[in-house]
Every structure is written in structure tokens, then in C-alpha cells.
Amino acid sequence: MFKEFAKGLSITLKHLLPGNCTTVQYPKQKLEMSPRFRGLHRLVPTQHREKCVACYLCPTVCPAKCITVESAENEKGEKYPKVYEIDLLRCIFCGYCVEACPVEAIEMTDAYELANFKREDFNFDKERLLKS
């Protein structure tokens, strides 16, 4: 019985040794996110415009109803999102929008530091989402 006890304790002690600690010293230290992590959204840009074609699938699928899209016609006669906004305070980071997008125009980045001081700052418009 003592043997088992010592074995267990040795694992604990091993983790106390430098270099073996699992606690991440946030914010000095930051974790590498898994590729499938669902953080802040990003609208994918192409050369001239956003990739999004304003198909309205993401605002339709969004369970939190936090995406606002308004489509319009640009000079070339293409469909584009005149308005694209996400209210991050309502977003539940389910990733359905990413899944729904038929043209892979929206992604979720690994950005998770989303705290802010003002309500308005949680409203991500098209320009911000293209840069994120």
C-alpha cells in the first residue's frame, strides 16, 4: 500500500519540478490554440472585396440571431454585403455561421481576448471583421 502511495506522490512531485508545470502563466504567457478553436470571426477578403456574397445563410442559421447582413448590388452588378455586423455580446460561438457559409467567406480565428469597455465596441462591423 505504501508503494502505491509513493508512486502517486512521485507523479505529483515530478510535476512540481521546473518545466513540468501545466498552469499557463496568462497573460504573460499564451496558449497556442487548436486549429478548430472558435474565437472571434473573420470575414475573408479577396483581392478587391470581401469574399462574402451576402447569401443570408449565416444570419438565418445563427441561433443567437446576432448577425446582420444587408445585401446590395455593387458597380459590377455583383451581390455584396453592404452591411455585415456581428453583435459579439450575443454570439454564442457555436460556429454554425462558418459551417453554413457556401463560399467559405467567414472563419473563426483564435482570438479570444474580446473584453472591452463599451457596449458598442462589441459590435463588429464589416471593416473590423475583415481585419480581424
Binding site: V53, Y56, T60, E73, G77, K79, V103
Partner: protein
């Protein structure tokens, strides 16, 4: 009746049904792509294949196969599924599949079927279509890369609209739908093809990229333009009417609309709408509060004492008209009239004298079964396009014989086997008399129970087909044939449209048409009818509610004359713009100038600009209530959007006025309907819950005439002048309202003077030249439109446009003698 089994269910159905229809009646689902309820079976897509026990070995298209006794049908099996899936795979081989940017996405039959049959891969490879798109047309966007060649657009434009814009061109993989010479679309822009297209190949251009179908709230209402009373389903989002949705379930129009109904909605969203009451202070119209405006108006009415006149439009709901009537009582005046007065009054008086009724004697759908049809005036199609489509269907399905008494050729004349009884301007009466003469002479008349036959016979003596044909410049044989067809037909229809530009001989025309209807037995016979179709959405309602001068009261024209001479002190115009649309401009101008004028409208119309008080009113999309269409169908309007700014419905404004006058008013339109039904003949038994999705036809499908009195009417004499101007309606517009809507304006934005090729050559005019027409009273000028439909010496101009100032030379005459001068 035929008995058959579908999916094990015993079914009895009519022997004219197809398998698909029998299944549908019994809620058995069979997918379709090229089938449409209102079109003839076609069988282009093969999505509807089913198995029939008696026809083993192959699959049968259910939409084209008639039912037979004892048939055993299976609608789903592994094989059927496989074949349907293959059909879809084939369709998708060349299909562009740009659903994310395709406005059909969400209500696309191809998309839905692809999803249903899980077509995720394709075993076939092929090039995607890369055909040019037409996105420049202001009404219809055409992208043939998305076309599935179902042929519905081709068929609807031919079978229903009777225009024939499209056909299939090329063969094999190259097959596509194209217009004549594969050019841009130049048609009636009724949008029937758009509503039929199962995919995104034909789309409404004004709605491009505006919203997804599932985001729209659909509100069924009644078109606010003409007396056809089509159901329009408003697609509402963000308190705006975004588009008009297809709906063939509700109403009398089978999902058919004309350009005005389908594309003429944008005026309700216009930023030029009146949003605040205006009151004239120091000679200028200034914004005011509702309290102030109402008080000023009522004070003005009170100051005028009994010298007040009310002229109402015919686009108010029945409930609003009822309040207008109450207001006239509260003001103690009998000077009450609606739209144009003379014309409407004349028509109803004429009918009352002969048949004892004041409305059409039958309903529109009956015309589909007619064998002979007579349209009085070629403009009938222009004023009531969707009824015109019913006529077209009667011709195509039923081989109905159509005759048109017309002073010019028009759409109706182009329909298959149509016979145009062309006459010189203003001589409709003579032709009608000649028709009666033939019927009497040849002993075809159904004289039973008719009064006044001998007098009529005597009076008709001078109107033999030959004499009349010579006078009007027509063909006697044609007149005779038409008369024989009308008299011999089992079901027949006579149609007469009336409206502001057609004031001449209105009473006489109604009488002459009624005479003919009596002699042929059309009036009162089951399945036949005499149709009197008012120009505006609620013209019939206004007549039913008797928005007409009472006892000693004055009609519209007299009121205007009296106001001009100072006899009438105050005028109240509700939804009417007489300065533009009434005959005799100087008279109207003087009247509006001299009187204390209150105008209620949705735009600051030329008449409103002269007012002392202006009330901002609501459009049809903003109110609840009922309209009665030209076949006596009472239909309900529903509120789609909120009025802009402080604008109020006419109902609410009239309530305020009544309250200020110290009288009570019904609290809601529903309550008003109850009261008006109680005191309106024909409406007594009607309650609002009887007015369902198909409306309610008061008096029944066939309205029995109360009288059968023949009344002789004298014909007219032609003008001797070389050049004569006809006034009328253009297809793309209705009244003056449509000139505020983008759709109709994209088709015809400005007034024009139309003339025939011969005249154009003689006067050396080409399209878009400026032409001035001089008369003794004044002159008008507009651009020239050269066409083939006008006889030599006859010009035509539509009356809708304010800038033409047509009523400077038009005072209600059947044709205006003019002198053309090239500018």
C-alpha cells in the same frame, strides 16, 4: 367520374383530371417542375414520373396522363426515385448553381428537389452554361444559365397573357429560351413569366438582391389601381413593400397581375409622400399639427355653411366612402360625387333605366366559359389587363369569338381570330345600334319579357348594318357576324370599361350595351353577363354606396362650375386630383382657386398645391377595409406597412373631421362595414367573415336584372375634321397615381402623342419628335410615338400625366379636333 387507386388509396375524380391532379386533390405528393395549375399540361421535365400497374415496363408522366377507370398508380418506389434523381442530375450538368447570389434561393424548385432527392454528386460531366444575362431591363432579369427549359414562361406569355414574348430556339444542348431575334424584352411587363419560372432564370429586377424569400412577411391585400381587384401579396420587410409575391390561391386573378399591380408598388415607399398636414399661412402651405389642420378645415366648412362640395376618389375603401357620406350629412350638403361624376353617373343611370341594376351582371371567371365576347372600346385591355387575360384564355381554351368595337387597334385586336369593328372616333353607339338592328331584323332577338321593343325597333330603322358601316367606315358583314355570334352563343359576355378619359356618351353607351344585352338574352342568363368595369379599384363600391349627388345636390362638374362662380364656398377633395385628371382645366383651376379648398392625398398633387389645408393620407398598403371590384366582389385589404411620418388613413382623417363636427363615427373599419352593409342595397346580408380569401360577390354570380326595358338611343355623327385626338388610358398606367411609381414610369415616363405611320409620313414625324396639337381652346405638346394601331387622321394620347395639361383641350368630348404642328 373515374375511380382509381393511388398509393393504395381509393380515389374518385373527374374524368378530365390527370394523375397528378387526382393525387393533388387527395394530398398525395408528386414532385413537379414544369407543371402549373393554370397552364395546359406539357410534360417537359419528367420529374413527375410514376408507375401505373396497367402500363408496366415504363414510367408515366403523371402531369400529362389522364386518369382512366381502374388505374393503379404508385407514386414512389426505388426505381422512381432513381429515375427522378437522374433527371435532376441531368438538369444540374449545365446548371450554374450560383444559389448564394441567386434571388430564387429558398424558393427554387430545382434547389428543393435537389435537396429532397439528395443529389450530391453527378455521374455526368458537362460544360456549364455561359449565356449572356439581361440585367439592364428595369422589370425582368433574365439569366438563361439557370433555365431548366420547363417552358412555363413561353406558355404563360402565350396561353394567359396572349403576348408571346418567348420561344425555344436552337436544338439539343444549345436549346434556350429567347425573345424575338434574341434581343431585349419589350413587352407588357406583366411579370407573369417571372411568377411562373420555377428557378432563378427570370426574376423581378427591382427586387434584385433585396432580401431572401424567407425574410419577407406576406400580406394579402387588393391592388389599389384598377377595378379588376386582383389580389396582391405584399412582400414586406423593414416597413417597406419590397416586392409583390406570387399568389394564385387567393382572389379572383389566379395569380395573374398586370405591370401596375406587379411593378407599380414603389410609390408607397416614395420619399415624396406627404408626411405632415399642411395649412396655408400668408399664402404659403406650411407644416402644421393635426389639431390645427382639422380645426382650420372644419372652420372653413362651417363658414361655407351649406355651400360645401365633396368630391371623392374611387380608391377609397368602402368604409372610408361610408364616412365620406356621413361627413356630407354632418355638413348638411348633398353636393357629393366621386371621380369625374358625369361618366360614372351616366353609366349607372343608363343601366338603372334599362336593367334596374347598377353593376356588372356576372363574374369574371364566367367569361372563361364564354363562346362569344364583345368588348366595347379597344382600351378595355389597357384599363383592365387581367380581365383581358381571361378573355384571351376563353379564346384559346374555348374558341370564344371575340369582337371589339374600337376606334383604334389594340391588344385585343391581336388575339387569335379577334374581329375588330373599327369605327370613326365617337361612333360606338352607332355600331351598338347596328348590332341590335341585325339581331332584331334577323329575328334572333330573345324578346320574351322585354319592354319597349316596338319603340326600339322603330328607332333602330336608320341603323342597318350597311348604313352604319358606311357612316363609321366599317364592314357591314363583320357587324352582322358579330351580332349573329352574340345572339347565338350559349354563353356570351359584353364588356364596357368606363373612367375619367371616357366621359363622352357614357349614359347612352350604357343604355346601348344594355339593349344589346337584353336582345341577346345575355343580361340575367346563367353563365352570360354584361360587364361594366370602373377604372379605379373601388369604382363599384362608390356606386354601391351612392357617393353621388343627393336630391338637390350637384355632381362633380356642376360643383366645380359653381365653385368657380363663387356659388360654392368650400371644396373637399378626397384622393382626387381634378386639376390633372378632370376635363376642362380652366373650369377646375378657377374652382380650386376661388373656393376654400381642403385636399386629402398621399402626394402633393397639383390640386393639393392649390389647397388651403392638405391632409396626408395612406396608400392601399397601409389600410384595412374592403374594395368592391367591377364584378361586385367585395374583398378585404390588410395592413402591410405603417404610414410614413404623421400620415393617417383616410378612415382616421374622416373620423377626426366627424368628431370635430360633433358627430360620432364608427371606431374601426370593421364596425363601419357593419353599418354600411345595413344600409347598402345588395350588402344587407354580408358580414365581414363572409368576405373570405376569395372575397364575396354580392348579388351572386349572376345578378338578375330588375327591369327589362329597352330604351332607344340615338347614334352620333362623326367629326369632319382631318385630324382628331382620342383620349384614353395607357396599359402601363392607371389614373394619375401610377406616375409616382418607378415601375410604370420605367415603361412610360412621359406623355406622348401616338399616331399612325401614314400620318407620321405625311407630317414628316418620327419617334420622339415634338408635336404640338392646337385647338380653339388651347394647345398641348408631347413627343411623338409612331405606331401601327391608329387609323389615318386619328391621334391618341393617354391622360395620366400632369405635365401634358391635356385638359386644357379636353373637356369630355369623344374626340378632339386638332391641328398638328411639328415643333
Amino acid at each position: 367520374m373515374v375511380n382509381l387507386t393511388i398509393d393504395g388509396k381509393q380515389i374518385t375524380t373527374s374524368k378530365t383530371s390527370t394523375i397528378y391532379e387526382a393525387a393533388k386533390e387527395n394530398d398525395i405528393y408528386i414532385p413537379v417542375l414544369c407543371y402549373a395549375k393554370k397552364l395546359l399540361p406539357y410534360g417537359a421535365c419528367r420529374v413527375c414520373l410514376v408507375e401505373v400497374e396497367q402500363m408496366k415496363g415504363r414510367l408515366i408522366p403523371s402531369c400529362t396522363t389522364p386518369v382512366t377507370e381502374g388505374m393503379v398508380v404508385t407514386t414512389m418506389s426505388d426505381e422512381i426515385k432513381k429515375v427522378r434523381k437522374t433527371v435532376l442530375e441531368f438538369l444540374l450538368v449545365n446548371h450554374v448553381v450560383d444559389c448564394p447570389v441567386c434571388d430564387k434561393g429558398g424558393e427554387c424548385d430545382l434547389q428543393d428537389l435537389t435537396y429532397e432527392y439528395e443529389v450530391v454528386t453527378s455521374r455526368f460531366e458537362g460544360e456549364k452554361f455561359d449565356l449572356p444575362k439581361d440585367e439592364a431591363n428595369p422589370f425582368i432579369e433574365r439569366n438563361m444559365n439557370r433555365c431548366v427549359l420547363c417552358g412555363k414562361c413561353v406558355r404563360v406569355c402565350d396561353e394567359v397573357v396572349g403576348y408571346g414574348s418567348y420561344s425555344f430556339i436552337n436544338r439539343g444542348f444549345e436549346t434556350k429560351i429567347a425573345t424575338a431575334f434574341d434581343r431585349g424584352l419589350d413587352c407588357e411587363f406583366c411579370g407573369q413569366c417571372v411568377s411562373m419560372c420555377p428557378v432563378g432564370a427570370l426574376l423581378p429586377r427591382p427586387f434584385k438582391f433585396k432580401a431572401r424569400p424567407w425574410q419577407l412577411k406576406e400580406v394579402n391585400s387588393v391592388c389599389g389601381y384598377c377595378g379588376n381587384g386582383c389580389t396582391v401579396t405584399l412582400g414586406v420587410k423593414d416597413n417597406e413593400v419590397q416586392t409583390i409575391r406570387f399568389n394564385d390561391e387567393t382572389g379572383v386573378n389566379d395569380g395573374n397581375l398586370c405591370i401596375r399591380g406587379r411593378f407599380g408598388y414603389s410609390y408607397v415607399n416614395s420619399n415624396k409622400r406627404l408626411t405632415k398636414p399642411l395649412v396655408r399661412r400668408d399664402g404659403v402651405l406650411k407644416e402644421a399639427s393635426w389639431d390645427e389642420a382639422i380645426q382650420t378645415a372644419v372652420q372653413g366648412f362651417k363658414d361655407a355653411g351649406e355651400q360645401v362640395g365633396i368630391i371623392s376618389g374611387a380608391r377609397l375603401t368602402n368604409e372610408e366612402l361610408f364616412l365620406v357620406k356621413n361627413l356630407s350629412k354632418a355638413l348638411g350638403t348633398e353636393n357629393l360625387d366621386h371621380s369625374g361624376g358625369e361618366c360614372y353617373k351616366g353609366v349607372t343611370e343608363g343601366l338603372l333605366e334599362t336593367l334596374g341594376v347598377r353593376a356588372s351582371t356576372a363574374t369574371f371567371p364566367l367569361v372563361e366559359k364564354a363562346n362569344a365576347i364583345l368588348a366595347i372600346r379597344s382600351d378595355f385591355y389597357e384599363t383592365h389587363p387581367v380581365f383581358g387575360m381571361v378573355v384571351n384564355q376563353a379564346i384559346r381554351r374555348n374558341e370564344a369569338k371575340l369582337s371589339i368595337i374600337a376606334d383604334k387597334f389594340g391588344k385585343l385586336s391581336k388575339l387569335p381570330n379577334a374581329r375588330t369593328l373599327l369605327h370613326k372616333p365617337g361612333l360606338e353607339l352607332n355600331v351598338l345600334n347596328a348590332l341590335c338592328h341585325v339581331i332584331v331584323e334577323e329575328g334572333l332577338a330573345k324578346t320574351e319579357g322585354l319592354n319597349g321593343l316596338d319603340e326600339l325597333k322603330a328607332a333602330l330603322k336608320e341603323y342597318s348594318a350597311e348604313t352604319v358601316a358606311e357612316l363609321v367606315g366599317g364592314d357591314a358583314d363583320a357587324i352582322k357576324q358579330t351580332a349573329r355570334e352574340l345572339a347565338g352563343a350559349e354563353n356570351a359576355a359584353i364588356m364596357l370599361a368606363y373612367g375619367l378619359p371616357y366621359t363622352a356618351y357614357s349614359k347612352e353607351l350604357a343604355i346601348a350595351a344594355a339593349n344589346l344585352a337584353l336582345l341577346t338574352g345575355i343580361a340575367g342568363r346563367q353563365g352570360s353577363g354584361l360587364y361594366l368595369c370602373g377604372e379605379k379599384a373601388n369604382s363599384q363600391g362608390a356606386i354601391d354606396l351612392a357617393i353621388l349627388p343627393g336630391g338637390k345636390g350637384m355632381g362633380a362638374q356642376q360643383m366645380l362650375a359653381a365653385a368657380g362662380s363663387g356659388e360654392l364656398k368650400a371644396l373637399y377633395l378626397v384622393g382626387e386630383d381634378p386639376l390633372v385628371s378632370y376635363p376642362n382645366r380652366s373650369l377646375v383651376e378657377k374652382a380650386l382657386e376661388k373656393s376654400f379648398l381642403v385636399v386629402q392625398d398621399i402626394f402633393l398633387s397639383p390640386s393639393a398645391q392649390m389647397a388651403d389645408v392638405v391632409f396626408p393620407a395612406a396608400s392601399f398598403a397601409e389600410k384595412a377595409g374592403t374594395f368592391t371590384n367591377a364584378e361586385r366582389r367585395i374583398q378585404q385589404l390588410h395592413v402591410g406597412i405603417k404610414s410614413p411620418g404623421e400620415a393617417k388613413t383616410d378612415f382616421a382623417i374622416l373620423q377626426l373631421l366627424l368628431k370635430e363636427l360633433g358627430t360620432s363615427a364608427p371606431a374601426t373599419p370593421a364596425e363601419a362595414f357593419k353599418s354600411l352593409a345595413a344600409e347598402t342595397p345588395g350588402y344587407e346580408m354580408v358580414s365581414l367573415d363572409m368576405v373570405g380569401p376569395q372575397g364575396y360577390v354580392w348579388g351572386g354570380d349572376n345578378l338578375e336584372p330588375e327591369l327589362k326595358q329597352l330604351v332607344p338611343v340615338a347614334g352620333a355623327q362623326p367629326l369632319a375634321d382631318k385630324y382628331q385626338l382620342l383620349v384614353g388610358s395607357a396599359l402601363y398606367h392607371s389614373g394619375t397615381l401610377s406616375t409616382h411609381a418607378k415601375g410604370p414610369n420605367a415603361a412610360v415616363a412621359a406623355p406622348y402623342i401616338e399616331l399612325g405611320r401614314e400620318d407620321a409620313a405625311e407630317l414628316q414625324l418620327v419617334n420622339d419628335d415634338m408635336l404640338k396639337l392646337k385647338t380653339v381652346e388651347g394647345e398641348i405638346q408631347a413627343k411623338v410615338k409612331v405606331d401601327r394601331r391608329l387609323p389615318k387622321g386619328v391621334f391618341f394620347t393617354p391622360y395620366h400625366f400632369a405635365e401634358l395639361e391635356l385638359n386644357k383641350i379636353y373637356s369630355g368630348q369623344p374626340a378632339i379636333a386638332v391641328e398638328p404642328v411639328k415643333v
